[in-house]
Symmetry: C2
Subunit: 139 residues, 2 copies
DNA sequence: TATAATGATACTAATATAGTATCATTATAA
DNA sequence: TTATAATGATACTATATTAGTATCATTATA
């Protein structure tokens, strides 16, 4: 069970690199080389981030991408949502059945609590918090 | 992001039903009918549970399956492990790189903590605890 | 000894993830 | 004004994972 898939992973890497450009537009071609991610794949990812308001894009010569907001407003949870959908630990352990006692089920209560905890942790991780730990960044 | 896949889900349903048989062997054919799970698929799942020591099986006429241990010793976490592998929220957010500062990374620390929390919650959920909530069980 | 069960294993189908290709649009700078 | 270097949109292919099927061998029992 993996929390983060490749899209999200690449998105994080790219966003961190873009954040460090001090508002200088960076084109996909350059990013792809630096991060060693296949250019068309990275492009697709950045296009999605643009559509979803995380990045701003500039067409034409000298164009490229910029963060749409400051790094402390970009949350890991949102990136996961964009590329992997909502964090739902479990719709209900018996997915297909309609439970008559959904409100009192102890199991459901616990899985719900677990889900809330995971989400709140993911909400507390921002791009800024990743950047702060500058010493441990690489590639 | 889904915590429990169909194998695990079916396994839980089946185990709960087997647990309620008071040590009477129950064959796959019967279980499959009751739980509305395709017979060969459920069979595969129970065979795995047998191999992994969760169930005991009895061949031949009048054969079937029984729990290998008491319901309070059967943990949700183990079932997830069997069918979906280890709960690893994230090997490391930049999977492919080798990080020079893996020990001091704040992000890693937090994801690790999150993973530990999830695992310990899953360890606290047993088949017995699901059965206790008898009123809310079904099909 | 027929039968009703599981064991083992290989196969197919469906879905999700990962990655590619291509043409259209647009902004810039020579 | 026009070649060029960028993104936008979209459709496609490939790979991996998940879901489900099929079949023959083995075994216990009535
Ligand atoms: S509420 Fe509880 S008993 Fe009902 S379907 Fe959900 S997990 Fe099962
Ligand atoms: S330790 Fe931190 S910085 Fe290093 S690879 Fe892991 S998440 Fe990234």
């Amino acid at each position: 069970m993996q929390l983060i898939n490749r899209d999200t992973d690449y998105a994080i890497k790219a966003l961190m690199h873009i954040a460090k450009q001090n508002s200088e537009r960076i084109p996909v071609s350059e990013l792809a080389k630096i991060l060693e991610i296949p250019n068309p794949f990275l492009r697709k990812i950045l296009q999605i981030l643009n559509k979803r308001g995380v990045l701003n894009s500039y067409k034409g010569k000298g164009g490229g991408f910029l963060l749409a907001s400051s790094p402390d407003k970009i949350f890991l949870k949102d990136l996961i949502n964009i590329f992997q959908g909502p964090v739902k630990l479990n719709e209900c352990i018996f997915k297909k059945s309609i439970c008559p006692d959904i409100k009192i089920c102890a199991l459901r209560t616990r899985i719900d609590a677990l889900e809330k905890h995971v989400i709140s942790e993911l909400e507390s991780i921002t791009l800024a918090s990743l950047l702060e730990d500058g010493a441990s960044l690489h590639s």
